[in-house]
Point group: C2
Chain length 405, copies 2
């Protein structure tokens, strides 16, 4: 029996068996795009659940609460609100997050230890618990509710970020789905922004955590919009085992396959976030090859993808390629300019540290594409890494000059 996986049409967080979701508009944020700001996900049975969180020393209250509760094999529900991040809110904020888990437990006949809570958007404000309490009962959970869940967690996002894949074959038959949000304050350094993954594959919480960390390192930890790491970044996975497969065990080839598929889902969603960066008009893919180590390849790729000067040059399709070299040079990765090489799209500019005879107009043309590819060969070792970012437009500044007002 051969192995296959395919993207499910309109796939989302409720595509895996046993998950349902819904959302409501409680008025936490008057700018909410789809007039939805409280999202609820529910699993028919308990989920093995793991997460990776922001490395920012200032962690939002719900992040601190989740950190205490996970990994867990008891999670049944996840409530997420946009509008207010419940960060920098002290002891009261932590109590608010706890109270929300109690409200959700009440609604779903669960215990608070079965319920996770997450928040996003403006830092430094208390959540309006009265509004949440009033509107929570109105949420109707459904099998198709993943899309509303995805809409309700959006902030300055301009498009839905959701996907699901169906795996069939020798490593089992199961579904992995996910939703993400994020357009600003994005330079994850462990997890990122908010991303929630569900699967009906059976896999224990500790193993999930290891898989999730690996997937995060290849996906959300390799994107940057503005170099700022949020106080709320969370990447979370819930597995309810409802696909009916035997549990996927540590060290098995089935786990290797699961890791590959999880990577696919995370990279897909992370690229969605990078592409939808605040004010962005282009996706930038930076591939670094020939680095001395994976760590240095990642460092160089992320530094290039995060550079304001690279991002603005790509925005204006200005062939100012020296900025790419300069960013790599300050990244900390070993760099010998007498042997390095550089390509933008299909045009080679620099080979063995020497200017290649190229046409600036060709580079300008490559930089007008919706997806711009930069490939830097450090020519020192064999390690490679890929990072994703977006261009920086005047619109980015405008959005962020008027964020809370």
């Amino acid at each position: 029996m051969s192995e296959s996986f395919k993207q499910i049409q309109n796939g989302t967080i409720t595509s895996a068996k046993g998950f349902e979701a819904g959302a409501v508009y409680a008025g936490i944020n008057k700018h909410s795009l789809f007039k939805l700001d409280v999202a609820l996900l529910h699993s028919e049975t308990a989920c093995n659940t793991a997460a990776v969180f922001t490395t920012n020393k200032v962690k939002a209250a719900p992040v601190r609460l989740c950190q205490k509760m996970l990994p867990s094999n008891k999670i049944r529900a996840l409530m997420v609100n946009s509008g207010i991040a419940n960060a920098c809110t002290g002891r009261e904020g932590l109590q608010d997050a706890q109270t929300i888990t109690e409200m959700v437990a009440d609604k779903l006949n669960l215990h608070p230890e079965n319920v996770l809570n997450m928040s996003t958007w403006v830092i430094g404000r208390r959540l309006p618990l009265n509004l949440i309490k009033s509107y929570l009962p109105q949420i109707k959970l459904s099998k198709d509710g993943g899309h509303d869940f995805a809409r309700a967690i959006m902030t300055t996002d301009t498009c839905l970020k959701e996907t699901a894949i169906r795996v069939e074959g020798k490593s089992g038959s199961y579904t992995i789905g996910g939703v993400a949000k994020g357009a600003g304050m994005i330079a994850p350094n462990m997890a990122t922004t908010l991303c929630f993954i569900t699967t009906d594959a059976a896999i224990d919480a500790e193993t999930l955590k290891i898989c999730l960390k690996k997937a995060a390192d290849l996906s959300f930890n390799m994107i940057s919009v503005d170099g700022d790491t949020s106080t709320n970044d969370t990447l979370l996975i819930m597995s309810n085992g409802r696909a009916g497969n035997p549990p996927i065990k540590k060290g098995s080839s089935k786990l290797q396959a699961f890791q590959r598929y999880l990577n696919e889902v995370c990279i897909y969603l992370a690229k969605c976030v990078a592409k939808d960066g605040e004010g962005a008009t282009k996706l930038i893919t930076v591939k670094v090859t020939g680095a001395a180590s994976i760590k240095e390849a990642r460092l160089a790729a992320k530094t290039i993808a995060s550079s304001n000067l690279v991002k603005t040059a790509v925005h204006g399709a200005d062939p100012n390629w020296g900025r790419i070299i300069s960013a790599a040079g300050r990244s900390g990765a070993a760099f010998d300019e007498t042997i390095a090489g550089l390509k933008i799209g299909s045009v080679e500019l620099w080979r063995q540290g020497m200017l290649v005879d190229f046409d600036l107009e060709q580079i300008r043309h490559e930089l007008t594409a919706a997806e711009v590819t930069i490939e830097l060969n450090l020519n020192i070792g064999i390690a490679t890494a890929v990072a994703w970012g977006c261009d920086m437009s005047e619109e980015y500044v405008t959005i962020n000059s008027e964020y809370t007002t």
Copy 2:
């Protein structure tokens, strides 16, 4: 005899005794604001000379040449061109820098080992040596030529950056003057952008280097415009001893005084650079107190001053103060949000990690000032640091989207 120092009116790099300068327009850069792009500084007698350079692994050719030549007690002249940075230009670029020192030596009847060369602006292009050779003879050196020198090294700068101070008193009578340039690719990490200091005080090159490093750490290493470290950053000091004072020796109180005055000059020029950041409309001063160590205080202050999200919020006078906390939280400095405090201008927002009852309108008012002050008390130790940055405007993006074209 008491000690005094005062800023000299119209002070510049030729205010100290025995220095003269001049500039010419060779047409290296057609965008040159004052139609000057080759600057020349000359000292009547040999200077003890030291410098600190960019930490970028990609170093411009003139930086590599200067690194070989310094510290030195033989320097008589410095030629700087704007328009082209002579970076990423390989062996030919290094030869070009060497050739320029020979041209200047010819003009001034010196030996190439008496001549330094520095370049700035676009990376990845060869210098037009024929143009430089044609126009160099036209430069007329004069005692008042420091201002033309300062104009000729400008790139996207919108104002001259020059100063000089006169010291009179028990630690000697001498002058320290300096010019700087820089508006983009500024996040120095050792030295910065281009800054040239002259003094007629007598002090040996090794001691100058130690003083310069200390001054850089308090000034140019604490500013950021866009987080990008240039390939050409150089902070250089030349001392010709023409003031007639006895040499200032290591470990003396006179050296302590000299250090204080050098710090003043460097901080003044560094703040000029921060304030004139590309597209900037406001100077941001970030003071971090109560840090566990000086290193952590510096880290937190620089991270806040460099954050795109803080910079755009200040631009729009948007009281989105959570971004300041979030930036400090990701900086790497120890941060306990239950004890930290925050002030913007004169308004206290956060005390012992609790929201203070403040008026958002008051903060908005503080953020409309031409100089915005942010003060974060980490309340952990006793270390402090100050960093300077600027707001980020739509204009920043526009300038950098069209840089080379």
